[in-house]
């Protein structure tokens, strides 16, 4: 009997193969949406289905959170790109031949990410994550403009180095686990590793965690390993930016957290908490300052992704049920909000025919609805009510202050600095006398609105089931 977790991986891959074969982008787009919808369905089914702990696959409270977010954002993004990429082809920014390529890549990427998520084997997970990365590399370079090629190239090199370091870390984990669990597959299995952590050699675990932190941290976009992220976001097609910010960073973070669990199991080893706190704060504050100098609107929000990843890593570094819960919540909220913002940015880019902030003015006069949606989305990511990010930031900052009053000043400082910048840009874009062209936007606004609604609901009311589920996940994180 086939299980949901298999579907969640297999379905996209199959779709990828199909999409390669199908000519004509309308059909492809539709199929893409349908498959993504199915995957989402499977993801939701997975929530209900019983938990699995196999040799190669694991489905527990923790990674279901990620899988659901993944499939959900995957679906909305597919919906978005169906109309968006179509427009790109009409205006001749993309040769339509690329489209089937694009959709196939999209599905393959989703599949790889799901593979990384359900894998119970650190090797398999590594493979999945790296596949996803390499595919996104290709998608970033899709436009074949000098900028996009450079961005892709930069992404490719930094990612590859990250890949290698992460793999070295994986080997080290195996070496650490081998004595306790014996040779072969068991020593690469999550569930077993976690159990055996106490009997592992602390020195090797330290080494392993450092390599994994640098390796996977590169994909999470932690400063100073972030360099690929802004350009990749800015130069790739907007849906890809949405997926990068919304999903890929999460998956990398997921891997990091898994390893944190293992390392935390060995008290003699280096405590990952403080290291993550420091890296998180560095990323948060650095990104916040970088926001001020941005001229490209997508790069702006790419940096804001770095900022929020920093905050999330900080929260998980703090640890404890409340902080972990807040971290998970913030991660979910950030995925939804940020991808929503990228949808909005896509609309704006189509409306004004540019991504340069300086050339986007007075949207509230020319495109009132879009302006309102965009403003709401940006305010949401800035942690303003009535949106979910407010809830998560509320929890993170209050608990931090309650535990480490002085430490709490740093994330608050970073967030405020970042807020100042984002608000400035927001006002520049939606207020003032409109300038430049004002095209009609024909990309679908459903995904954007959907995301906003979800984030809004989360700010007002979190379903108890969801909360309980998140809390269990937080407990798993310890």
């Amino acid at each position: 009997m086939i299980h949901a977790y298999q579907l969640v991986v297999v379905l996209p891959y199959v779709a990828a193969v199909l999409l390669m074969a199908i000519p004509g982008y309308r059909v492809g787009a539709t199929l893409n949406v349908i498959v993504s919808a199915l995957t989402l369905g499977v993801g939701l089914w997975l929530v209900a289905a019983e938990r699995i702990v196999g040799d190669y696959a694991i489905v527990d409270e923790f990674n279901i959170v990620f899988i659901v977010i993944n499939t959900l954002v995957g679906f909305t993004t597919a919906l978005f790109s169906a109309s968006y990429i179509g427009h790109e082809i009409e205006i001749g920014r993309l040769p339509s031949g690329f489209l089937r390529f694009y959709h196939a890549m999209f599905q393959a990427m989703m599949g790889s990410m799901n593979l990384a998520l359900v894998a119970n084997n650190i090797g398999v997970m590594w493979v999945g994550l790296e596949l996803a990365t390499l595919i996104t590399v290709v998608m970033v370079g899709l436009y074949r403009t000098p900028q996009s090629i450079e961005a892709a190239w930069k992404y490719f090199i930094l990612a590859s180095v990250g890949i290698s370091l992460a793999f070295f870390g994986t080997i080290l984990i195996y070496l650490a686990g081998q004595p306790a669990l014996g040779e072969g597959v068991p020593a690469m299995t999550w569930s077993l590793l976690q159990g055996a952590a106490a009997s592992m050699d602390p020195a090797i675990l330290d080494l392993a965690f450092i390599f994994l932190l640098i390796g996977y941290g590169t994909k999470v976009g932690l400063a100073p390993l972030h360099a690929w992220l802004p350009d990749a976001h800015a130069e790739g097609p907007t849906p890809v930016s949405a997926v990068l910010s919304g999903l890929l960073l999460n998956v990398a973070l997921y891997a990091l957290l898994r390893f944190k669990m293992v390392v935390a199991g060995q008290p003699a080893a280096l405590d990952p908490g403080p290291i993550m706190v420091v890296m998180g704060l560095v990323s948060l504050i650095f990104a916040a300052f970088m926001l001020y100098q941005r001229r490209d609107i997508k790069r702006l929000f790419a940096y804001s992704s770095i900022e929020h990843m920093g905050l999330i890593v900080f929260a998980f570094g703090m640890g404890g049920p409340l902080a972990n819960f807040a971290g998970l919540l913030h991660m979910a909220m950030h995925s939804l909000t940020k991808s929503g913002i990228f949808f909005a940015v896509g609309h704006i880019a189509q409306a004004k025919g540019t991504q340069r902030i300086a050339e986007i003015k007075g949207l509230s006069a020319t495109h009132p609805r879009l302006a309102v949606a965009f403003a709401l989305a940006v305010l949401a990511i800035c942690g303003m009510p009535p949106f979910g990010v407010f809830a998560s930031e509320f929890l993170i900052l209050t608990t931090t202050f309650a535990r480490e009053p002085w430490l709490a000043l740093l994330p608050a400082f970073g967030l405020l600095v970042g807020f100042g910048a984002l608000l400035l840009r927001l006002q520049d874009t939606i207020f003032g006398e409109p300038t430049g062209p004002a095209h009609r936007v024909d990309a679908s606004s459903v995904p954007m609105v959907l995301h906003l609604l979800l984030v809004f609901t989360a700010g007002i009311f979190l379903p108890p089931a969801l909360v309980a589920w998140f809390q269990r996940a937080a407990e798993l994180l310890g």
Partner: protein, 667 residues
């Protein structure tokens, strides 16, 4: 419980109004104001009931923060502030009904007005940290959008930006405060917080955070700079709400934390609010006296009043910490009454300013003048407001001022030496503030409404629509009534004072039922009605007598002006010239103001020039410099965006080696 449902319905109505207004355009938008007025009235009545009954209503909704839910509670304190808020909202809405339906309604303002009102009400009834900050931030957000309503004006954009950033800083501070109050276990419900006692150091931090959080919203110096930019930028009836009412929400927040949640105070908690308050009061007015923009002057005077209120709160803390509940009651009553009074006359003044703006299209005092002839009603109402805010008897401003002075006079009875030495300083500074306020508003009224018009617009101004006159008239009436019936208000305050400082003002022990008593009748009494009666009798008798004696009527003629009357209105004293003596006396100290006269030699045709330099140190130190610092740092860091790939690899490598070295040294 039914009251809560009524409350909910009213708030819901406001929300619905906001949503409907968001999808309507044009004249239809006018429906917002009657609806808000109705809702405000209903909520106000509910609050009044709760206040007089002294009971409290509570409810928990299964939304909001997980495992905690959304706690709502209407106790006497929130009821009192609710009355303040909804009074202001009502006035603003009535004023709004008078707006020109064809020109003055915009989808940038009307949908947000009810939202703003609802958010403010929500803050008051919030009974857990999440709900509180949620609605608090919503309030900031709504008002931000209202400030940015005139979005094509770069000035109001700048104001909006500064405002929301300062609001965010305040919210962050409050987050800390509530984080400390709730503790690591995250007991965010206020009931839980009341039972959880933070350690002394933490408590001190919480107080500081609360001061920053509420101070930044109330305009406590040095967190004030956004206020004189943002409040005037909004449409006038919204300015009235922001200045007259929203600042009171900030006060509420501080009272709630310092007197209710934080537990028994230590005596030195009193010092920060008192010191900041005094500085704010005096500096705020010095700013106001030197400013030439009508609405900005009003905004600065709001800062001053907030400062005064914080002084009163600080004194209340000091008395309470020493168990001198009567003193605490007097100080607290002063604070709360001033909250109420200020909400009345400041709203009145801002609506008046709005009327002037509507009639003349100008806000600069030096372009106005003589409006008392063109818009007599507005002028009369504004006069009441101006005299009231100058704390002159028998108007309401003086009632709270009097109580405050009584509290200051009692301060030497506190055991702590620091407070002894503070008390005369506080007294002197408050007296200075009062005198400056009088000067400031004589200046404002004298230049805007009296004298001869200084511009064409002022010369053919016209009075505003009836609805707006009603709004102002009502507030003016309240100012007079509140001045006469301070004792009645004291009675109404009794429940709040009972809850906060466990005793009220002595009631009904005075010579007449209307005497306001501090401590005890033998000590200090102020009986406004009697004095008012005396003044009335005296003036009327004088009128009669004088007119009986002097048979000849008066005659109109040209102004005497020492025999050299000059027809041109330019020769009048302007706002700037009125401020000159005060600037000479205080400006050199506060703003390092310098004036240089360049007098051309005899026979030279060029006019003599007087140029004045005024430096705003606070802005330089607390705003300009940090702002520049952030930008500098960001542009330095920005290099990291443009490195070569190899250099990025170097960064990665460095990070790796660093961590490895760390692992190598740690055992």
């Amino acid at each position: 419980m039914p009251e809560l449902y009524v409350l909910g319905v009213a708030l819901g109505a406001l929300a619905v109004a906001a949503i409907l207004a968001a999808v309507t355009r044009g004249p239809a938008l006018a429906f917002v104001y009657p609806l808000s007025a109705l809702a405000a009235t209903v909520i106000g009545i509910v609050d009044l009931g709760a206040l007089l009954r002294g009971g409290e209503l509570a409810a928990v909704l299964p939304i909001g923060l997980p495992a905690i839910g959304l706690h709502l509670r209407l106790d006497t304190l929130s009821a009192f502030f609710g009355i303040v808020i909804n009074g202001g909202v009502l006035a603003a809405s009535v004023y709004g009904m008078g707006l020109d339906r064809t020109h003055e309604l915009t989808p940038r303002v009307e949908p947000l007005f009810p939202l703003f009102a609802a958010a403010m009400n929500l803050v008051l009834i919030a009974d857990d940290a999440y709900a509180f900050l949620f609605s608090w931030e919503l309030m900031s957000l709504a008002s931000w959008a209202l400030v940015a309503a005139r979005h094509t004006d770069p000035e109001s954009r700048r104001a909006a930006h500064l405002y929301l950033v300062m609001a965010a800083i305040g919210t962050a501070a409050l987050l800390f405060a509530f984080g400390g109050l709730a503790g690591p276990t995250g007991g965010y419900a206020f009931d839980t917080i009341r039972h959880h006692r933070p350690a002394p150091l933490i408590a001190a931090l919480i107080l500081a955070a609360a001061l920053v959080g509420c101070g930044s919203k109330g305009g406590l110096i040095p967190l004030h700079a956004w206020l004189p930019l943002a409040h005037p930028a909004a449409p006038s009836h919204v300015s009235a709400l922001m200045s007259g009412v929203m600042t009171k929400v900030a006060i509420y927040g501080f009272v709630r934390i310092a007197f209710d949640l934080l537990g028994p105070p230590a005596w030195w908690w009193a010092l920060p609010p008192i010191i900041l308050g005094v500085v704010t009061a005096v500096l705020g007015l010095l700013y106001a006296v030197l400013d030439r923009d009508l609405k900005r002057v009003l905004a600065y005077s709001t800062i001053e009043n907030v400062g005064v209120i914080f002084v009163a709160l600080g004194l209340a803390l000091a008395f309470r910490a020493n168990g001198q509940n009567e003193g605490a009651a007097v100080a607290m009553a002063a604070a709360l009454l001033h909250v109420l009074n200020h909400s009345w006359f400041k709203s009145l003044l801002f609506l008046g300013a709005g009327a002037v703006l509507h009639a003349t299209g100008r806000r600069d005092l030096d372009g106005l003048g003589g409006l008392i002839h063109r818009m007599p009603r507005t002028a009369a109402f504004f006069l009441v407001g101006a005299l009231a805010i100058s704390a002159l008897p028998p108007l309401n401003g003086f009632v709270s001022e009097w109580l405050l002075f009584q509290a200051v006079i009692a301060a030497p009875e506190l055991p702590q030496a620091a407070l002894h030495f503070a008390s005369p300083a506080i007294g002197a500074m408050l007296a200075l503030a009062a005198a400056l306020a009088a000067a400031c508003f004589v200046r404002v009224y004298g230049t805007a409404f009296l004298g001869r018009p200084r511009s064409v617009e002022a010369a053919n101004a016209h009075d505003v629509p009836l609805a707006q006159q009603i709004a102002m008239g009502g507030l003016a009436f309240l100012c007079i009534l509140g001045g006469l019936l301070g004792s009645v208000l004291a009675v109404a305050l009794a429940p709040v004072l009972g809850d906060l400082v466990s005793t009220g003002l002595p009631i009904g022990e005075g010579p007449t039922p209307f005497s306001l008593i501090a401590f005890d009748p033998a000590r200090s009494v102020y009986d406004a009605p009697v004095i008012a009666l005396f003044v009335a009798i005296a003036s009327l008798t004088t009128l009669v007598v004088v007119h009986r004696i002097s048979e000849r009527r008066s005659r109109r003629g040209p102004a005497w002006d020492c025999g050299f009357p000059d027809p041109s209105p330019v020769t009048q004293y302007t706002a700037s010239s009125f401020a000159q003596p005060l600037r000479r006396v205080y400006g050199t100290l506060a703003f390092a103001s310098r004036e240089t006269v360049e007098m051309p030699p005899p026979g030279d045709q060029r006019p003599a020039r007087l140029s004045v330099v005024v430096v705003d140190h606070l802005w330089r130190v607390f705003y300009a410099t940090p702002g520049r610092a952030v930008l500098n740092l960001s542009s330095r860091l920005n290099v990291l965006q443009f490195l070569t790939i190899r250099r990025y690899l170097v960064l990665m490598f460095a990070a790796l080696v660093l961590l490895l070295a760390l692992a190598a040294v740690t055992t």
